[in-house]
Amino acid sequence: MSVEPALLAGEPAARPPKPGLPGRLARDGGIIFGALIILFMIVIGITAPWLGTKNPSEINPSFRNRVPGIEQTIRNDDGTARTFTYRMGTDSLGRDIYSRVIYGARVSLIIGITVAVISIAIGLFIGLIAGYLRWVDAVVMRLMDGLMAIPAILLAIALVSLFRAGVMSVIVAIIVPEVPRVVRLVRSIVLSVREEPYVEAAICAGTPTHLLLFRHVLPNTIPALIVQGTFICANAILLEAILSFLGIGIPPETPTWGNIMAEGRGLFRIYPHNIFFPGICLALTVLAVNVLGDGLRDKLDPKLARRV
């Protein structure tokens, strides 16, 4: 065993300062990879109109089912001509797949983030109350058990059949199966936290229940919820694509990755690019969110990291 030279010299070893949380997060390869791709997709979604796209819903009957890279010369009203390149070809209605894929990023990201935020908010609220009030707990948890007994995709499919097709109904249909999982997570944290001495101290000091939950219990749930939120986001993006792909999600004229693929199913043998381009974007985005979630879990919630 060797002795550190610094100790022999009788001087404290010069250590680099321990990086804070942001610094530690920025050193994780997975987190950087995930965050960069998500950022890239967000930028694409926001700047969609300026990325050489055209109206993603514009039908072009004379230019259907074309291969990627084909050019079309469009004559303007004043007699001049310009060419438009269909980078990813066109679908069976002559819509530009490239534009649809780019605009599709918007829908996927909006749904992923909205579902994550709302399910966390609802789940947090119910979970805090269920974890703290025993009589609510019994009732609420039986209800959640019942909801969780229905496989998530199936429950979402059943729920979309209740509403009229649209972005809002798809969001609701994806939130409902996610909420019980958040409730369980929050409840389990609350149950362990409320035995802590500082919570008992706060109770003795006469802190009213709502303040107690808000100030002393809620902060403990935040790391786990951030991690859970990323996984819900990834799940929601996937589920929206699945619903749209099955033809029961967002109305087909809206450009979403699932819709582009649903449209491409019929002629898949001849024009596989209709499925592959949106498929790659979808898989890449979900992968990025999942990798980000894995990285965050290892850093923020080591207890959870050991469980799975």
């Binding site: 209800l143 499919i157 979309v160 059949s161 999942n290 799975v308």
Partner: protein
């Protein structure tokens, strides 16, 4: 043991009852009058009223629930609005493809994932481990239908090795049945493999530091036997649990896979029923799938004693 089984069975009853209430309310919450839907466009108001009466729709909602639930317990799921058959007949005729697909998927997934997970744990931190874990994250991220279409493109269209889509009943020849089952079950097994491999790795890693592993090695046990006999057997409980919980993923995947490969099973039936707003069929399929899911996880719980005799009920 028997007492425990009974208690567990009793504990699943409220869960299934709540599922039934959800499913029942689903139909009640939908806009439209089921009696009018069944009667069709040419019925007059007396005919609609007669159907409403025969279905018990003029009763209070609690009575309606118990009539409906009682019928279901007797295997009567009502009549499909769209297929004009009883739902029970419809489900029976769609059962075989789904069962075949699910069983093949579970077999493939376990056969691939468990050795992969053990290997990743054994070679922890090496390239093999990273590849297995990377594949696992990828498996969670690539949607089932993208995997399905990629496999169709490669093996059916480019290489022409396997049929593109479709299903052949096992009674019409085993060769064709198997040929058409390979692509869909491999497709569906990807996400399941990802889940099981991950859990196997974690779980085997947990036991690798135990004394009995060192003892087994010290007595000169072959490494393969150390891993698969001593380590895996002790790591089995969480792995079996995750196989049971993964059935939810499997059921969701069945719905998508059957649509990609045009397999006339329960999953395809679910989508068709939703597209046609055929609520009795939707209700029956959801109840059935949930029941199977709950039942499998009950069996998994009971199977713990097989893997770990220390667990007593």
């Amino acid at each position: 043991m028997l007492g425990y089984i009974l208690r567990r069975l009793l504990a699943t009853l409220p869960v299934m009852l709540i599922v039934a209430v959800f499913v029942f309310l689903m139909l009640r919450l939908t806009p439209g009058d089921p009696a009018a839907v069944i009667a069709g466009d040419n019925a007059n108001s007396e005919q609609v009223a007669a159907i409403r009466n025969s279905l018990g729709l003029d009763q209070p909602i609690f009575t309606q629930f118990f009539i409906w639930f009682g019928n279901i317990l007797r295997g009567d799921f009502g009549e499909s609005y769209f297929f004009k058959k009883t739902v029970a007949e419809l489900i029976t005729s769609r059962l075989e493809p789904t069962l075949a697909l699910s069983l093949a998927t579970i077999v493939i997934a376990v056969a691939v994932a468990v050795p992969l997970g053990v290997l990743a744990a054994y070679r922890q931190g090496t390239l093999i481990d990273k590849i297995v874990m990377g594949f696992s994250v990828l498996g969670f991220s690539v949607p089932v239908f993208v995997i399905g279409y990629s496999l169709i493109y490669l093996f059916a269209i480019k290489l022409n090795w396997l049929p593109v889509q479709g299903y052949q009943r096992i009674g019409d020849g085993f060769g064709g049945f198997l040929q058409r089952l390979i692509l869909p079950s491999v497709t569906l097994s990807v996400i399941y493999i990802a889940l099981i491999a991950r859990m196997t790795r974690t779980s085997v890693l947990d036991v690798m530091g135990e004394d009995y592993i060192r003892t087994a090695r010290a007595k000169g046990q072959v490494e393969v036997k150390v891993l698969f006999k001593h380590a895996l057997k002790n790591a089995a409980v969480p792995i079996v649990t995750v196989i049971g919980l993964g059935v939810a993923l499997l059921i969701g995947g069945v719905v998508v896979t059957e649509s990609v490969f045009t397999i006339p099973g329960l999953g395809r039936l679910t989508v068709d029923a939703v597209l046609a707003r055929d609520y009795p069929t939707i209700q029956a399929v959801i109840l059935l799938f949930s029941f199977v899911y709950v039942l499998i996880n009950l069996l998994v719980d009971l199977a713990y004693t097989l893997f770990d005799p220390r667990i007593r009920y």
